[in-house]
């Protein structure tokens, strides 16, 4: 009774759970420009996923798959009839490629050429994780497509799910449902760690007992996306930052409904992979610019952010591109051949930097 009353009062005064706040970018997530400072930048319009198959680094961009050549160029590897939504090595030397039409294609390895679909007619595949003859598939939403991720957030949906596909038999089984846009999957021993974007957290799931969930990392300052294995931990891509303005809008259902009905999608008050390109956008003027220059610390709907996690999924350091940066909308990260590759879909670039130059998150005090 008192709890309920307190909730009503908190709602009235905008405090407690109703406070419109976002966690600070500090500690391991302290703002920096490491992504913009990377000297190696390859333009690949629409770049989205990165994956390593055997000894080749592959990147998807739209409906095409590119491979990194020895001279550092990205060469066309294969083209599909739908956009690529996810990549994952699987079954020996194979590669699973998820398409935006809901189909999963296997290239190479034990199951070369086979095609799969998840149950429930899921066409919103966001991430894949393969192990032996099993492929785990994250479905972001039951009602929206991959491209409709902003709508799914503004509708405050939690209709995502994770499925297991037995690549041998082709059978599909739901592992867990009612997730708020699962956007990344990675194995942690026998468990599966999933990034739940709209709840700004990572969730550890035991596929044998999916109802027992753990949250190793919560209250992230951005929307977590794909997770990649690293030599001593993991890399987490956060595809957009959280902002107080969006958090406020998310609490106003009538406003959101009308905005989605009447305002063109590029100008919604919502996180973006790239913002600040049009004067129709909601954040303008002195709020974001000083003497005509975008302030690095300005509130922004887009940014570049990837976080190094340790083996316990705790953040150690981050690589960032700030409001005025040029590496926004990070959707994929991969360690390959002594370098770290970061795919920034917002700006359509892949930046790379030597792993030796990547900070370790620990320092020595002089």
């Amino acid at each position: 009774m008192i709890g309920g009353l307190a909730g009503v009062i908190d709602n009235l005064f905008g405090r407690g759970e109703a406070a419109v706040t976002v966690p600070p970018l500090d500690g391991a997530l302290r703002p920096n420009r490491k992504l913009d400072e990377a000297t190696s930048r390859s333009v690949l319009d629409g770049v989205d996923c990165l994956a390593i198959r055997g000894s080749t680094l592959l990147a998807s961009a739209g409906a095409a798959l590119f491979a990194l050549a020895a001279n550092g160029e990205w060469l066309l590897h294969r083209r599909f009839d739908a956009g690529v939504a996810g990549l994952s090595p699987v079954g020996g030397d194979g590669l699973a490629i998820a398409l935006e039409n809901g189909e999963i294609v296997i290239e190479g390895g034990l199951f070369d050429g086979r095609r799969y679909r998840t149950g429930g007619g899921g066409i919103c595949i966001t991430a894949l994780a393969g192990t032996g003859a099993n492929l785990y598939v994250a479905i972001g939403s039951a009602t929206n497509t991959v491209r409709g991720w902003q709508r799914d957030l503004l509708e405050r949906n939690a209709t995502g799910s994770v499925w297991r596909i037995d690549l041998g038999s082709g059978s599909t089984t739901p592992v867990i449902e009612n997730l708020a846009w699962p956007a990344g999957l990675v194995f942690d021993g026998d468990n599966l760690v999933c990034s739940e974007a709209w709840k700004h957290r990572l969730v550890r799931i035991d596929p044998a007992r999916p109802n027992l969930r753990q949250v190793p990392y919560a209250d992230l300052p951005g929307y977590p996306g794909r997770i990649a294995q690293a030599a001593d931990g993991y890399w987490l891509a956060l595809f957009a930052p959280r902002s107080q303005l969006v958090e406020f809008v998310l609490r106003e259902p009538a406003y959101r409904k009308r905005m989605m009905a009447e305002v063109p999608e590029p100008y919604w008050v919502a996180p973006k992979l790239r913002s600040g390109r049009s004067f129709y956008e909601s954040l303008q003027g002195g709020g974001v610019k000083h003497l005509g220059m975008v302030k690095p610390w300005a509130p922004t709907m887009s940014a570049g952010l990837c976080v190094k996690l340790d083996r316990a999924f705790q953040p150690r350091f981050s690589l960032q591109s700030r409001a005025d940066g040029r590496t926004h909308g990070v959707t994929g990260v991969a360690e390959y051949d002594g370098r770290l590759y970061v795919a920034a879909r917002g700006d359509g670039v892949i930046v790379s930097l030597p792993l030796a130059n990547v900070p370790t998150g620990e320092g020595v005090r002089a």
Binding site: F13, G16, T21, D26, A218, D219, Q314, P315, R365, A366
Partner: protein, 498 residues
């Protein structure tokens, strides 16, 4: 020349415990004499004997070549000795002029005459203070001026300053130093007690160092440097333990996020402040006075209650919390160690044991549901030993302890509550160098044990020495963050003022 004050083999005992032992001291005419020592070294007791506040158990005091038996401060004042205390003894509800002429009280006072005389007198001292202003409205520096003016008005030939600069801003300190120079020109002799060794080196003609109630050394200030003073004060070399250590030390990696302050706002004091504190790390907040550091800490710990409409959120281990009083915060493991220990830190007339036990009671850490004297003694003994509180008697009243030991009692009172997050606000203010090293060691130990530690300090060397992370607060918000091993004083100060 006959010294203006001479103390010959003076000893002062409290309940049979000697606080000053066989100390001889001379003050020459027109000199500034710095009296230095750790807390509990006997500096204040020695000056209290000179200014008639206490009488020596044995030994003699000679003023102007004559033996004097000073029974009270007013008698000392008649002999030309005035004492200016750290906490000013002015009456806040009276005006400046009324305070200066307080002891000249007549049956009928003509305020206009008092203000004219006050104006002329303050001008003659070159003090820019309005004689008609209420003392409650003055800044610390101006109050100090009024104290001095009152002393000079009583024809003080000797003025004793006890920690005069502890509460002053850098600008006010500058004013104070020029004041001392002017007093010296007028032939006034000055005894200057301070923990700021650099200040003593700048303004003193001679320096006397006391240790454990005994005289260690007296010499011209020019023959001293910081290290020599520290060595004399503590009897060992602290350079490696205190500020400016060149030892390389690993910055602790962050543990779990214990506290997340998100967009905290409160009028003009806190404006969208956001920061996090992690387990097993020392996070420091540096900022100028008035930057909102203390207010943020007090809101977190429930010491300061925000109004209904103030925004933001405080999350403890990911859970939103909002404390209106400190008690639930203490129960949740948030402990705030105040910057003003004398007012908020302890009950000065209660014993060490009672103070520490109160902490245990507040934190719900007692085994017994009712007050248990035996448990009180056990807890007190444990913490007195752990923190090396001197004297080791649990029955000693806190008012009788030195500043450093008082601070240890405050810390013991906090630690007995088993904190998960401990906030130290100016942990070494008014504490001597020996105790500073011990308190720093304690803070480091807490972080090593995995407790989240937040330190608020205005003293940059302390910030640099202690911190794993340094946050800079300016105008109510956190404006910059540095790694403990990367920052330097200049960069931090630049962030704090620009």
């Amino acid at each position: 020349m006959t010294p203006i004050v001479e103390v010959r083999k003076a000893t002062k005992e409290y309940r049979g415990v000697p606080v000053v032992k066989d100390v001889s001291f001379t003050l020459r005419r027109g000199e500034v004499h710095a009296l230095l020592g750790e807390n509990g070294a006997g500096k204040s007791t020695l000056t209290k004997m000179i200014s008639g506040v206490v009488q020596p158990t044995s030994g003699e005091i000679w003023i102007d070549g004559e033996r004097a038996e000073l029974k009270s401060p007013s008698e000392a004042l008649r002999r030309g000795i005035a004492m200016v205390y750290q906490e000013t003894s002015l009456i806040p509800s009276l005006t400046v002029a009324q305070n200066i002429y307080l002891m000249d009280a007549k049956r009928l006072h003509r305020l206009r005459g008092l203000y004219i005389a006050g104006q002329q007198f303050l001008q003659s001292l070159n003090f820019h203070v309005d004689p008609t202003a209420m003392v409650s409205g003055l800044g610390a520096g101006q109050k100090q001026m009024v104290e001095i003016a009152r002393a000079v008005h009583h024809n003080a030939k000797v003025i004793v300053f006890d920690e005069p600069t502890a509460t002053l801003t850098p600008e006010e300190k500058h004013q104070f130093f020029s004041l001392v120079a002017r007093l010296k020109q007028r032939g006034v002799s000055i005894i200057f007690i301070s923990h700021a060794l650099e200040e003593a080196l700048v303004i003193a003609d001679r320096i006397t160092v006391l240790r454990d109630g005994e005289h260690v050394v007296t010499d011209d200030a020019a023959t001293f440097d910081r290290e020599k003073i520290v060595r004399a004060m503590v009897g060992r070399n602290l350079t490696g333990e205190l500020y400016g250590s060149s030892r390389k030390r690993k910055v602790r990696p962050a543990g779990e996020k214990v506290l997340s302050v998100q967009n905290l706002s409160m009028g003009n004091v806190l404006r969208n402040t956001s920061f996090s504190v992690f387990a097993g790390q020392i996070t420091s907040i540096f900022g100028l006075i008035g930057s909102g550091r203390t207010e943020a800490a007090k809101v977190i710990a429930g010491v300061l209650k925000r109004d209904l409409f103030h925004g933001g959120q405080v999350r403890l281990f990911g859970r939103p919390v909002r404390y209106r009083v400190p008690r639930p915060a203490v129960r949740d493991g948030i402990i705030y160690v105040t910057e003003d220990r004398k007012v908020e830190g302890f009950f000065e007339t209660m014993s060490i044991a009672e103070n520490i036990y109160l902490g245990a009671l507040a934190g719900g850490r007692t085994k017994s549901a009712t007050v248990s004297m035996s448990e009180m003694r056990t807890i007190a003994k444990e913490w007195i030993a752990a923190l090396d509180v001197k004297p080791g008697s649990a029955d000693a009243r806190v008012i009788e302890l030195s500043g450093g030991n008082q601070q240890k009692v405050v810390v013991a009172k906090a630690l007995v509550q088993k904190p998960r997050l401990i906030i130290f606000d100016e942990p070494t203010r008014g504490v001597d160098v020996g105790a500073i090293a011990e308190i720093h060691h304690l803070i480091n130990r807490l972080a090593d044990e995995g407790i989240a530690v937040l330190v608020i300090s205005s003293y940059l060397p302390e910030i640099l020495q202690l911190s794993d992370r340094i946050l800079v607060c300016r105008q109510g918000r956190i404006v910059e963050e540095f790694d403990g091993h990367q920052a330097d004083e200049e960069t931090i100060m630049y962030a704090a003022v620009h």
